[in-house]
């Protein structure tokens, strides 16, 4: 049972997809709700059975051959970081399903079928212990998202969907070349052509400096587009704006995390030397993204686009923390992935619910809704605060940790067990101004749309149904997310404590590469097998 748990996590949404396809149209909603609820249950079981004390070890492992002759297996396994992201996915899924009940009225079956297929693929990314299995899942997420955007999006949907697909597909083709190169390199030393991540992790880091740099570039081409890191972000605002509500939520909540997760899982441990060398540049780009994203947000008139650009800025913080390459920054970064999923996902829900009522997203047309929809306004304000980083809510903790990480990075001694990194106080100082910008644009948005005189789009009174406040279903969806924001805001240790072990393990690899220590000794200390005969010493 234990070892097949992860397979069930993927099989349930897939089975639901199949059931929806063959069931009558009116059953689609019910089936999707049921399937995603079972998913939540399985996620909770997995969390309960997971040995959190040993979070760095991969658990629930199992493996099946897929294409043996090319060394490809379906290998499953999660460490605590992956499990948290799985839990995030499982949590958002039923909310997305339930949140779409009223928004989706045509081609319902297709919609829920693809939504569930998307979940299976996203879970696949997090649970894969085989590089190609990971890649298959990573790529496959494109198809459901493409369909969801281009069938259920707003006016410009086809263009947005195509741009989304082409951007990410182009990037990941180049990433594939880099990943296969790593496999080839490993095969040179071990004599075995395998896509098993475990083996690759131990061998890839012994690549020479220039090899590492090229592999880093190739991998970033694929993963940075997904994150998205400035200047590869241009697909994101368009896709977000045009996507249906649940599509936006999943896009912001989980799909972007596939990029950050992939960078954490593959870039850092595979090419540690290059990461050390280029971390300042990447961090610099992230900071540009933070500031640029923030400033662009400020001038947006389309509220959905505004939140989309805020994602660019937020994920800049997330990547900055990761490339601080110390424990605080990395923990903050992982926490940021979860927090951003909750608060930005919730913001997209809020905007979606408003759009269903007013059919506009323009800040010029709607405003001052506090008097008309107080409950909605409360949630909108609440999640904005969470997103801005109000102390006590979740965004604050992760944002401050990312900045602290960047600040401390490069300091000579930051206490026992800590690892330094290549950044420094200046990075944190400049990025910190991004927090101010974030406060400006988000508060500006809330100020316009929630407070002030009531403005409603002309002619909406002619609709049969007058806009009313949120109903119980919508309140339920938002409450779950709000609860998550509060819990992670006041007790972030719940996550941080659990992800320390895997973070330390990955960072020790990176710092060893930085200090020029023999990677072989790194392996000895982390307990990895030493298989380094004939490696390319740097």
């Amino acid at each position: 049972m234990e070892s097949s748990l992860l397979i069930w996590l993927m099989a349930v949404p897939l089975a639901t997809t199949g059931a929806i396809v063959f069931a009558p149209e009116r059953m689609a909603k019910v089936l999707a709700t049921f399937g995603s609820m079972v998913g939540v249950l399985l996620g909770l079981i997995a969390a309960g059975r997971f040995d959190w004390a040993d979070g760095a070890a991969y658990q629930f492992t199992s493996s099946f051959p897929l294409i043996e002759s090319l060394g490809i297996n379906l290998s499953f396994g999660v460490d605590s970081i992956a499990l948290w992201l799985v839990l995030l996915t499982q949590l958002l899924q039923p909310l997305c399903v339930i949140g779409s009940f009223s928004a989706i009225t045509e081609r319902v079956r297709t919609y829920y079928a693809w939504l569930m297929a998307l979940q299976a693929a996203m879970i696949g990314v997090f649970v894969a212990r085989d590089l190609l299995f990971f890649y298959i899942s990573f790529e496959f997420t494109l198809v459901p998202m493409y369909v969801l955007i281009s069938l259920y999006g707003s006016t410009n949907r086809r263009k947005a969907a195509t741009k989304f697909f082409l951007y990410t597909f182009t990037g990941s083709m180049i990433a594939l070349a880099g990943l296969v190169y790593v496999v080839w390199f490993t095969a040179q030393t071990t004599g075995e052509w395998t896509f098993a991540i475990e083996t690759l992790e131990q061998q890839a880091r012994t690549m020479g400096r220039s090899q590492q740099a090229w592999v880093l570039l190739a991998m970033l081409a694929g993963f940075a587009v997904k994150v998205p890191i400035f200047p590869l972000h241009t697909w994101l605002p368009l896709a977000h704006t045009e996507a249906p509500t649940a599509g936006s939520v999943i896009l912001a909540g989980v799909l972007l995390k596939l990029g950050t997760y992939a960078i954490w899982r593959f870039v850092l441990p595979f090419v540690p030397a290059a990461v050390n060398e280029y971390a300042p540049i990447i961090a610099g780009v992230c900071i540009v993204g933070i500031l640029y994203g923030g400033l662009v947000c400020w001038v947006q008139r389309d509220v959905k686009k505004l939140v989309a650009y805020s994602s660019v800025a937020h994920l800049g913080f997330c990547m900055l923390g990761m490339f601080a390459l110390n424990n605080v920054g990395a923990a903050g970064s992982v926490l940021y992935m979860i927090n951003h999923g909750l608060s930005t996902g919730a913001l997209f829900f809020c905007i979606g619910f408003m759009y269903e009522r007013y059919h506009t997203r323009s800040l010029d047309e709607v405003g001052g809704l506090a008097s008309k929809m107080p409950v909605w306004s409360f949630f909108m304000g609440f999640f904005t605060m969470a997103s801005v980083g109000l102390p006590g809510l979740n965004g604050f903790v992760s944002e401050i940790m990312c900045l602290m990480g960047a600040f401390q990075s490069g300091a000579a001694d930051i206490g026992a067990g800590g690892t330094t990194g290549p950044l420094g106080p200046w990075y944190a100082a400049i990025a910190g101004t991004g927090m101010i910008v974030a406060a400006m644009y988000l508060l500006f948005m809330v100020g316009k749309i929630v407070f002030g005189p009531l403005r409603e789009p002309a002619g909406h009174h002619e609709h049969d149904v007058l806009p009313t406040d949120l109903n119980a279903r919508e309140i339920g969806v938002l409450s779950v997310l709000a609860a998550g924001c509060i819990v992670l805001g006041v007790y972030p240790r719940m996550v941080i404590h659990n992800i320390e072990a895997p973070i330390e393990q990955t960072l020790s690899v990176v710092s060893m590469a930085a200090s020029g220590d023999d990677p072989a000794s790194t392996l000895a200390t982390t307990g990895g097998p030493v298989l380094l005969a004939g490696r390319d010493a740097e």
Binding site: P65, L66, I67, E68, S69, L70, G71, I72, L132, Y135, I136, E139, F140, L142, V143, Y146, V147, S150, L151, R158, T162, F165, L166, F169, T170, M173, I174, L176, A177, V180, Y181, V183, W184, A187, W193
Partner: protein, 569 residues
């Protein structure tokens, strides 16, 4: 003596001994003759049975191909055992696809009381030509001699010229046939010239050592040992031959005919053209490359089984052709609005991908991911199925007036109006795009692996970027079929009467999923097919001794072979 039953021994004449490998071809030839006669029968039931008999013949050939023995000495010993069943299997689908292409109007007229006139019927010839072409393709895989190879290639191509012209009553089909024929003749002249130069350089037409002493492979290996290079005449010969053959695979710069011919021919025949001559071209290319070998090395400069590259001029030529073919194919496909032209250019691009495998070579023995030939042959299989499905879907629908569908717009809402035709089209175009978990992705991973193994990083990047370019137009096709709502025009499309086409399309569509999960076994088989066993070059050549005595493959050959004269460079 029946060669199939008896072991060939020294007394058996060489040609008779070869018959033992040819049972699938013989079967196909017999079927061809039967079909040709059946097609002329005044009895309608007999005429109608042409396709069924052809499929039956191919089925028998498939079984025979699985069991026919392979020659004990060959540079690519596994090629035959892989290629022939593949050809027969795809051939079955192709014949099903071809059903209902010709004689439709004539048969209708007969039903309404017109008189049977054998002169007006083309049914028998049509199937017979298709079978001839498939026979030629199989013969390519059996070839061990330049003349054989040339004849096999022409047997593959000549029938297709006629098939293009008779596939449709439109004048465009005639034009396409003529264009195809003249350019085909140009290609044939080029590789024939190349073959002649190769013969001139080596004094033999045998590809490798056989009944007539050492073959081109051994002589070139000896030449390398003695002079360090294969010599300019042999190089020019190989380059000319390869450029000529690139007509068959539709590679740049011999690709110009592709869109016009595919567009002019009916979709079913276009599907045939996109696979059969291309497969023949690739098999020929692989044979030609294997003759000169992927590098020489070691103390005695032996041909390498792994780790080397083709001789520099040839490698550079193929490299440039591959990169250009991918890029030109994909970029041109981007600019098209007709589906058939898109698919034609996409088939050009796919040739570029497969060429990468040929450049990479066989890799290290026993190491499947490094085997570029295996990857190219596996990709050929993938391509065969997915391309068939894509063209097949186009062939399944027509306008009320009987015209074929043309533009991407015609595909709108196809999944809603004709799910059994639309979904295979979507699956096949996503597979052509290389999206996991579909067959095309497995093929691409195999090619990527082998190319990276051979350190052809630049080619891999070119390939990656090209796959991304291709994404745009494949998405257009798939998107139109799945996402768009069918309009008036699209609703008025009707299914063609031919059941075989729909069956072939559905089977191809299903196979791109099913075969992905069975790709392990297929990749293993293709790697066996790509296993390269280089000819043993003489360790040292004593003066005055010709290479012939070093290869006493049939020492007691009663016919007394004269050793080839040393060619003068």
């Amino acid at each position: 003596m029946i060669p199939f039953l008896a072991q060939a021994d020294a007394e058996t004449p060489a040609m008779v001994a070869k018959l033992a490998y040819l049972w699938p071809e013989i079967t196909l030839f017999i079927t061809t003759c039967v079909v040709m006669v059946l097609g002329l029968s005044p009895n309608r039931a007999f005429r109608k049975s042409c396709a069924a008999v052809s499929v039956l013949g191919l089925g028998v050939a498939f079984v025979l191909a699985l069991f026919t023995k392979t020659p004990e000495y060959s540079l690519l010993p596994g090629l035959m055992a892989y290629a022939k069943p593949l050809i027969a299997a795809v051939g079955v689908l192709l014949i099903l696809m071809l059903t209902g292409t010709v004689d439709q109007g004539f048969e209708r007229a007969i039903k309404q009381g017109a008189k049977w006139d054998p002169l007006r019927s083309t049914r028998g010839e049509f199937y017979a030509f298709a079978l001839f072409s498939l026979t030629g393709l199989m013969l390519c895989a059996t070839a061990d001699d330049l003349i054989w190879l040339f004849l096999a290639l022409e047997l593959t191509s000549l029938p297709t010229y006629v098939m293009v012209s008779i596939s449709s009553s439109r004048t465009r089909a005639q034009e396409a046939g003529i264009k195809y024929f003249f350019l085909g003749a140009l290609g044939a002249a080029m590789f024939l010239y190349g073959f002649a130069l190769l013969y001139g350089a080596t004094g033999t037409t045998q590809l490798w050592a056989g009944s007539a002493g050492p073959g081109i492979a051994e002589i070139l290996a000896t030449r390398i040992l003695e002079t360090g290079s294969i010599g300019s005449i042999a190089t020019v010969g190989l380059v000319l031959a390869m450029v000529g053959v690139s007509f068959k695979i539709a590679a740049v710069p011999m690709h110009f005919y592709t869109p016009d011919v595919y567009e002019g021919a009916s979709s079913s025949v276009a599907a045939f053209l996109a696979f059969v001559p291309k497969a023949a071209g690739f098999i020929t290319l692989i044979l030609l490359a294997s003759v000169v070998g992927w590098g020489f090395g070691g103390e005695t400069n032996q041909p390498l089984a792994s780790g080397g590259t083709l001789p520099e001029p040839i490698r550079v030529m193929l490299w440039v052709v591959a990169a250009l073919t991918m890029t030109v194919g994909n970029v041109m496909a981007l600019l098209q609005s007709s589906v058939k032209r898109i698919l034609a250019y996409s088939s050009v691009a796919h040739s570029g991908y497969m060429l990468v495998g040929v450049i990479v070579g066989p890799g290290s023995p026993g190491d499947i991911p490094s085997n570029g030939i295996g990857a190219a042959l596996f990709y050929l299989l993938c391509y065969g199925f997915m391309n068939l499905g894509a063209f097949g879907a186009l062939a399944c629908l027509e306008r009320m007036s009987g015209e074929e569908i043309e533009s991407v717009d015609d595909l709108k809402g196809m999944c809603a109006t004709y799910p059994w035709i639309g979904w295979p089209l979507v699956l096949c175009s996503l597979s052509l795009l290389g999206l996991p978990p579909l067959l095309g992705f497995a093929g691409k991973v195999a090619l990527f692996s082998s190319a990276i193994w051979a350190q052809e990083i630049v080619l891999v990047v070119v390939m990656g970027i090209n796959s991304a370019i291709a994404a745009y137009y494949y998405l257009r096709i798939a998107g139109a079929a799945v996402l768009e709502e069918p309009g008036e025009v699209q609703r008025s499309l009707v299914r063609t009467a031919s059941f075989g086409r729909i069956a072939a399309t559905v089977v191809s569509g299903a196979s791109v999923i099913v075969l992905f999960f069975a790709s392990d076994a297929l990749i293993q088989r293709s790697a066996d097919a790509g296993a390269y066993r280089p000819s043993p070059a003489p360790t040292q050549l004593r003066s005055g001794e010709s290479a012939a005595t070093q290869f006493p493959l049939r020492p007691e050959n009663s016919q007394g072979v004269t050793p080839p004269s040393r060619p003068q460079n």
